[in-house]
Symmetry: C2
């Protein structure tokens, strides 16, 4: 295993510390926890909290700041954070207007966030949640009942975060987050796996001419393996499944071409070249495109495509200012 690390036991701690030291204008760490909150707490607004395992950087700490999240909780690599850490985060960011938890649909995350919410509710904090389930590749997976939550989660952070910043109520922010979830679909593929530091070996193996279709974001295999095809053919395949799942016809969309961690930007742009052409041919206008690393899986070489159907309110919230390490 070749990595720029010091100690497999310390990767999460050192990562969080290195992130907070890089961006003190946006972030601070809660003492004793791998939990980051805004450098300056904003009082009187609904607080947004998200998180999950480490290894998805810049998610989720990179989205903490004005206009997006108030708090991100990081577990061990690809492992849910514990309820006590989530609970500390909820307490730190609540300012009386309530807390919305944005949870990706993985069994461990859902269970631990719910336990934390119960602990906070017993203290009188109003907590609601949404569960993101944008991955069209699988219905149930190794880690999840129902669809997995993947890169589309970042759109939930952005749009719900912008609405919360304007002083909307907890119910309104929850409804906006749910509207994003109802309108976003994602699917991905990979040509190289990643290695969880504590495991020391890749999560799966691929032959020199193989790719994995329908990958999640926890280093697990996808739905099946195929012979590697040209980029455009892979795009066609993923888009067919996404567009077959929701009626995008004539709807303006936001596109996210998300790198899994080791995919060169050159290749993401080559992929977007065809994504853009296909959507144009199908009469689906693209309002905004985001190409880069938004929700990664360590050094996996892969990508996902997310398509979000937009209405005027969502367009405005998507474009609203944000001041965070990874979305500015």
């Amino acid at each position: 295993m070749k990595k720029f690390i010091n100690d497999v036991e310390q990767v999460e701690n050192e990562m969080i510390q290195g992130m907070v030291k890089a961006y003190p204008q946006y972030l601070k760490q809660l003492d004793g926890y791998n939990v980051v909150v805004r450098a300056e707490k904003k009082e009187g607004k609904v607080a947004l909290i998200s998180g999950g395992g480490s290894g998805h950087e810049p998610a989720h700490g990179g989205y903490v700041g004005q206009g997006m999240l108030d708090c991100a909780v990081a577990g061990a690599v690809f492992t849910s954070p514990t309820p006590d850490a989530i609970y500390e985060g909820i307490k730190a960011v609540d300012s009386g207007a309530g807390v919305l938890m944005i949870v990706k649909n993985y069994t461990g995350d859902v269970m631990n966030f719910e336990m934390a919410a119960e602990m906070a509710q017993m203290e009188g904090i109003e907590v609601k949640q949404v569960v993101v389930c944008d991955d069209v590749a699988v219905k149930d997976s190794l880690y999840t009942i129902g669809r997995r939550g993947v890169a589309g989660t970042v759109f939930v952070h952005k749009i719900a975060g912008a609405l919360a910043e304007r002083g909307a109520s907890l119910d309104e922010v929850q409804a906006a987050a749910q509207k994003v979830i109802d309108n976003v679909r994602t699917m991905g593929a990979a040509i190289r796996p990643c290695t969880v530091p504590a495991a020391g070996k890749p999560g799966f193996e691929l032959g020199e001419d193989e790719m994995e279709i329908g990958i999640g974001i926890h280093g697990e295999p996808g739905t099946h393996r195929e012979t590697l095809k040209p980029a455009n053919a892979i795009v066609d395949q993923l888009l067919e499944q996404i567009l077959g799942d929701l009626d995008y016809e004539g709807k303006e969309v936001a596109v996210m071409v998300n790198g899994a961690g080791a995919t060169p930007l050159m290749e993401l742009f080559i992929l977007n070249n065809h994504i853009s052409d296909v959507l144009a041919q199908k009469g689906i206008p693209v309002y905004r495109t985001f190409v880069g690393e938004y929700m990664t899986s360590l050094e996996m070489e892969g990508f996902s495509i997310s398509l979000l159907r937009l209405d005027d309110e969502m367009k405005e919230l998507l474009d609203a200012p944000a001041h965070t390490p990874a979305w500015r």
Copy 2:
């Protein structure tokens, strides 16, 4: 060779098209050339043009937009753009106030940008240049006489770009760019090489326990090979060489921890954790830190550290607004 591409002959063309289709609010392409310019030309200002081989994305097209570059010219992967393409770029962005070329010190780039400048000067366009040479690893390299220009180039784009946006003269913008060059130093290391699509095999080979020290950004080997060390020890080694080259004591700095293309953000943050600690111990205050992929080498797994000494003017220009795909 496993890549998300269609045709090795088309990677540069499809990359540029995919970038422009992703960010039409910032960019447009010059017909017939892999040259991107701002979507809306700003008249009456000094125009900044940069570029080089492809494979360094988001450099340089990702830095075209308000507050940074006016034009980026892309050659084949790791190959200088041709003088005629650079010349077309110069003509497209000049609006009478003159053009500053920001060239990385590689022999091919320097030669071709100078030829283009001569062609433009014959047409009466005022063209000046700066040559970035921030890499402290080598004096002369396979491709360069003198030090190579690497990730520090992005600071030149940012600071000179912000000054040009305010209406400064060509001489003033050139002086600001040169001041950045005089105050920035960079050094890098890698644990996995990258593969130029047209070559089909990696530029060098590394054993399972080896790292390459002093890498450039064109997939070439560095100065020497060593046994892989813990992240903190690598940071110590690179910082020692950077800090030994310029007197940083007591100066505020901007830090860039640049991923080479396949390095997970988790590892870049782990590296920054120690960089930040070492600078604090040495009494070098960090004004801003930038962690991410700014100047890549396809899917090389490596990183570089850049340290820029700042004064008040540079701090203000560094923080000034920019609206580009990769720096916002």
